[in-house]
Chain length 331, copies 2
Amino acid sequence: MQFVLVAGTTETAAIDGISAAGATPELVVHTPSADAEIVVYGRPVFAPVTPVSPTGCPTPAVMTRAVRELLGFDVTVLDAGLARPTAAPTVDVGAESGADIRTVDPVPDASDVFASARRFGHALGADELVIGETIPGGTTTALGVLTALGESVATVSSSLPENPLSFKREVVADALAASDLDAGDVTEPMRAVRRVGDPVLAAASGLTTGAIEADTRVVLAGGTQMLAVAALARRAGVDAPLSIATTSFVASDDTANIHDMAAAFDVDLTVTDPGFDASDHVAMERYTRGEAKEGVGMGGALALADRAGVSMVDVRDRIVTVYERLFDEPA
Amino acid sequence: MQFVLVAGTTETAAIDGISAAGATPELVVHTPSADAEIVVYGRPVFAPVTPVSPTGCPTPAVMTRAVRELLGFDVTVLDAGLARPTAAPTVDVGAESGADIRTVDPVPDASDVFASARRFGHALGADELVIGETIPGGTTTALGVLTALGESVATVSSSLPENPLSFKREVVADALAASDLDAGDVTEPMRAVRRVGDPVLAAASGLTTGAIEADTRVVLAGGTQMLAVAALARRAGVDAPLSIATTSFVASDDTANIHDMAAAFDVDLTVTDPGFDASDHVAMERYTRGEAKEGVGMGGALALADRAGVSMVDVRDRIVTVYERLFDEPA
């Protein structure tokens, strides 16, 4: 099994009210670089902070790191448009940070990024590839791509307890208008990403496509963004089985019917409940109120723990250990 | 413990007779990229071949990977001037491949690379850092730096059974002449690297210096190249304890008195014998005849195995497993 974290940024995330992936709007741009460092090293190295939401909900990188400490799997970070330095080693697919999707050409290098990531996924020749993502504002760009492709089931989840879905739809409508497109106008997947998507979608769908071509089993570790990746891979010609591993927090989000979407794209769905209800630790209790929900491969990491026979009690204990290392030490 | 592999290239390696780090001279430039992939993934991914010497002696990346599979430690690859793509994730310190040291300014970015690597080593804040290297022709550039600095004990080992030391000295003499320098003319460490060294020496000594400043224990995993790194770190002001972990093959090389050199730079020396005499496997028997000897952190990996109580019997068994995976599978 090879775990790949696809990490990138866009200016779309800077739209007020779109992303909760940072304590303040100014910190959001650091989040993917910090997430990569937390998964790889267990703490931020170059990044100035451990990412939290404005209410203090910690990044799901904490959960993925905790599982990684229990299972010991390797992780490879793919730079899909990081905007800030990271001390995590990265594979370069030539991606730049995405612009605001309300501009005309926010991801001009989408096809090249897809091609590079596809080559990497193919060459890797893994038996199984688990693909996670970290990109603030990623559910909005995922909605953009699904809408451009005319996927009628398209809804997306949110890292906020109250999903600002109608606002996201407005942003996507503006984005389509900026590119002189209507919903459903686009059939070519990288054209959708180029016009209304983000570089992580390009890289993750390329990686998926290349891996499938090498007979690798692909597990998309995440929520509705990973359903957009599956939709893109299907449009790129992938007809092999695909699966998504996500958290119970995404699965129980009524604003995003992940079950119907998984069925629409012929994707197997694995849902893992980490049992955070059993804990009142600050690292977990905000998740039970619907914050964060998923990200940084959290659902895939939980599924790996479950498959390895590691109990969620042990996962929760390790989450506390990782959290305390991150937040109790002097900066 | 954090294991960092510093990987780079120079045109110096292309001088006929300098490097045995490739089956043919044309393949040498791929070796560091391939070594990084072998340590990270267990096999070449983008690299066209598994590196072997002209006689078929396999790269010490095989040994380091074998120990890594037994112990499960993480590895971070630092790109110190790779000239070919690698699928291994890398940390970027802004290094370019080095030119031939017989030109006037072969490593113009030495000071910047040192500074970037120092920042990384400091920020990492590890309890212990084990630093390995992979750079063909690296003993010649190490000899260049030691000679420029006027280290009278300077001799270097070789990946060849017959060390072409007088030829290396000729190349270094030409290199000094090209920069209008005499032996011992240089006191500033990065000036020596810039004029007659290689980017791996800049990065590894910067990494060492930054790590020591963060109170990290540093183990230089390698032979005479790592003694040059220690000499550079000493000249950069490091007076904390430093240690080198190398193989018995380097330690028993009479052409390079590593014991005297370690004493001269106040470096503790750990020598580990992997007991290859007990095996007649092709992966190991050429090492017993004095080929390769060290590299890719092999001596450090063996020391880690020893410290963890893993027997050299188990290490040798795993070397056979890794070797057969690399050479018996269809390409």
